[in-house]
Symmetry: C2
Subunit: 365 residues, 2 copies
C-alpha cells in the first residue's frame, strides 16, 4: 500500500473518531464490508473492525492472513482462530464489563448480535451508530473523486465501444455479456451491478434483467451498466432506438433529457436531495409524464452502487461539495416503452460536474 493511502486511512479514522464521540460509546463495531474497506483498506469478505479511541483492530480469519497484511496499515490485525464473532465478543468484554458499543442495526443480523452478546459475557450495551460511517463516506475526498472520474470515463468508453453490437439479431443476454467483457478488457475489475439490457416492450419494465429476447428493428433499447474500478462504482444509462424513432417516442426522450438537465442544474451545495428530485419531476409534470416516472431521481455512488444520499421525493438530506450522485430520471409507458438517461456527477462549489461523458443526444441505429 502506498504511503499516501496510509495517511488517507489514518485521517479517515480520525475524522470518524471525531464524529463518533457524539455517540457516547466506548467503541464502534463496523460490520459492513464497504465501511471496513473505507476505514482500513481491507477488501476480504470476512471481517469485523473494532474501533476504540486509541486503537483500531481488524478481525478476520486465516484465509485472509496475507491479504490483510498487504491491505491494512491503519489498524491492528487479529486472525481469529475460533470464529470471528467469538473473537470480537471477547475483545468487547476486555473493554469493560458493561461497555457501550455503537453498531449498525442495518448491517448486523439478529444471529450475529446474539453471538456477540454471548461471547461478550452478556454485558454489552448496544448503541445505534446513526450511520456515522456512511455519512462520512458520502463526501468524497480528492483521491476518491479522481478514481471515480476514471471509473465513470471507463463506463462511458464501454458504452461507445458496445454500440456496434447494439443491433437487430443479438439477444439481450449476449449483448450484456459482450458489454461486461469490454469492461474487463478496458481494465475494470467487473460490473458494479448486473448489466441491464432491455429492448422493445421490456423497456417499460424499470427493473428488467437481460433475457433471451432478440433485439429487433424499430425498438427502444435501454442499456444500464456500470464498472468497478479500484473499488469505486460507476453507473450509466443510455436509451437508443433501432431505426427511425417515431415522433411520439421522440417526445418522451426529449422530455426525459430535459428533466435530467433540470435536475443537474438544480444541484449545488446546500440544496436538499428532494429539491433535485423535484426539479426532474416538475419537468416531467409539465409534459404530463410525471405518473410514468416511478422511481427516484438518483442515488449516491462510491464504494457501493447505492449509498447516501438518495435523491428521492421529499428527501431532506443536504448536498455538500464532494458528494457523487447519479441523475437518472425515466418514464415507463406500458405499450410504448421506457426511456432512462443517467449520468454520474460530483457536487462542487459552483454546482456540479459530470463524471460520465457518453453522448446524451438520441442515438438512432
Amino acid at each position: 500500500m502506498a504511503e499516501s493511502q496510509q495517511v488517507l486511512n489514518r485521517s479517515r479514522l480520525d475524522r470518524l473518531r471525531f464524529s463518533f464521540s457524539a455517540l457516547h460509546a466506548d467503541a464502534l463495531l463496523v460490520s459492513h464490508p464497504a465501511n471496513i474497506r473505507y476505514l482500513c483498506g481491507f477488501t476480504g469478505s470476512a471481517g469485523l473492525l473494532l474501533i476504540q479511541s486509541s486503537k483500531a483492530t481488524l478481525f478476520t480469519d486465516s484465509r485472509y492472513t496475507f491479504q490483510a497484511r498487504q491491505e491494512v496499515s491503519s489498524a491492528h490485525i487479529s486472525i481469529a482462530k475460533k470464529g470471528l464473532v467469538k473473537a470480537v465478543g471477547e475483545a468487547m468484554r476486555r473493554i469493560g464489563a458493561e461497555a457501550y458499543v455503537a453498531y449498525s442495526a442495518s448491517h448486523l443480523t439478529v444471529a450475529q448480535k446474539e453471538a456477540l452478546q454471548a461471547a461478550g459475557g452478556g454485558g454489552i450495551r448496544w448503541v445505534k451508530d446513526t450511520s456515522v460511517v456512511e455519512r462520512l463516506r458520502a463526501v468524497k475526498d480528492r483521491d476518491e473523486i479522481a478514481i471515480m472520474r476514471e471509473s465513470a470515463q471507463l463506463i462511458s468508453e464501454v458504452f461507445r465501444r458496445s454500440l456496434p453490437s447494439v443491433k437487430p439479431g443479438i439477444s439481450e443476454l449476449e449483448l450484456a455479456g459482450k458489454i461486461e467483457y469490454i469492461m474487463k478488457q478496458l481494465g475494470a475489475s467487473g460490473p458494479s451491478f448486473e448489466t441491464i439490457v432491455a429492448s422493445g416492450p421490456r423497456t417499460a419494465w424499470a427493473h428488467a434483467r437481460p433475457s433471451t429476447k432478440i433485439l429487433k428493428k424499430n425498438e427502444l433499447v435501454v442499456l444500464d451498466h456500470g464498472t468497478i474500478f479500484r473499488g469505486y462504482c460507476s453507473d450509466l444509462t443510455r436509451t437508443v432506438f433501432l431505426g427511425k424513432i417515431p415522433p411520439k417516442v421522440r417526445r418522451l426522450y426529449d422530455a426525459v433529457l430535459e428533466a435530467q438537465m433540470a435536475a443537474k442544474s438544480s444541484i449545488r451545495p446546500g440544496v436538499t436531495a428532494g429539491e433535485v428530485d423535484a426539479a426532474a419531476r416538475g419537468t416531467l409534470r409539465k409534459h404530463k409524464l410525471a405518473q410514468y416516472f416511478t422511481h427516484s431521481t438518483g442515488h449516491g455512488l462510491g464504494l457501493e452502487i447505492h449509498e447516501m444520499p438518495r435523491l428521492g421525493k421529499g428527501e431532506k438530506f443536504v448536498l455538500q461539495e464532494g458528494m457523487v450522485v447519479t441523475v437518472e430520471p425515466g418514464v415507463y409507458v406500458e405499450g410504448v416503452g421506457g426511456i432512462r438517461i443517467e449520468d454520474d456527477v460530483v457536487v462542487n462549489a459552483l454546482g456540479m460536474v459530470e463524471l460520465t461523458n457518453a453522448p446524451r443526444e438520441l442515438i438512432e441505429i
Copy 2:
C-alpha cells in the same frame, strides 16, 4: 409459469408446512431471497414471504408488480405501498395480538426485526426457524437435479472453450472476462460467483481474485468458475500447467486428484459430511500434505453457491439421496503454488454421480 412448476411450488409449501408444525409457530416469515424463490418462485430483490397454515402471502413493492404476477402462483401477492416491513408487521398483527412467528436470525437484520416488532404492535413472539427451509432445499427434487446437471455441463463446456485462451501473455483479469463472456454466449444467465483466475505464485492464495498479472510460461493456473442456469449454480475448478510440469508439482497434482477420488468414493446416503472430508484429508495426510489443505472439502450447491451441507472436518450432517455437493480438495504451498480440483456431484442410492464432466487429468499447455 408452467403448470408443473405450480404443482412443484405447492408441494414445496406443503412439505414446509409439515416441517414447521414442529416449530409450534402461527406463521413462518421467510426473508432470505433464495428461500423465497424456492418456495414461491419470486426472483425480485425486495420481498418477504409470510406463510401461515392455510395461506401464504408474498409482500413486495410496486417495482415488482408485473414480475410478481408472472412468477408467483403459489402465494397471494401483496404490493406494499408504505414499506415492505410495515406491511408485513401489520399482517402479523392481524394473525393475533401475541402471535408466535418463526424467522431466520441469520437472514434478518436487527433493524428489520425492530421495525417488524414496532409495526406488529409490539406483541410478536419470535421463534427461531431452525433453518427449516434450508434443510428442505438441501435435498433436490428431480426437476432441480435436471437443471443442475445442465448448469454443470454448461460450466464444463465453458472450461473446454476457455482453454485456447489460457496461455502466456493474457492477464488473469482478461481471461476471467473472456470466461464469463463464454458463459453468457452458451446461455448462462451469469457467473455464480466472481470467476477466479490465479497464476504462478498467486495460486498459493486460496481466495485470490483475478489481477492484472500476466500469465507466464512454466506457471500453474487455477480456474475456479461457475454458472447460473435457470437460477441454479454450478461450480468447477481445474488447475492446468503452462508448459511441462516439474515432477515435484506433478506429485502435488496427483495427490489432490487422489484425495478428490477418495472423497467421491466415500459419498453415499447415510455417511456424514465429516466422513467425506476425512476421506480427502486422510489421503493428503498419507502424502504428508494435510497441513496445506486449508479449507473444507466441499459445500452444498443449488440456488446458492454455498448452501447445506458443508463438507468440513467433523461435520455431523448426514448425506441423503438428492443432495448436490462440490468435492474440491486443494493444497497451497507458499513458494511452490496451489492446486485445486473441483466437481459437482449428486448423492444417489448407490453413491454419487458426477454432474460436471470436464477432464480431470492434468492438462499441460
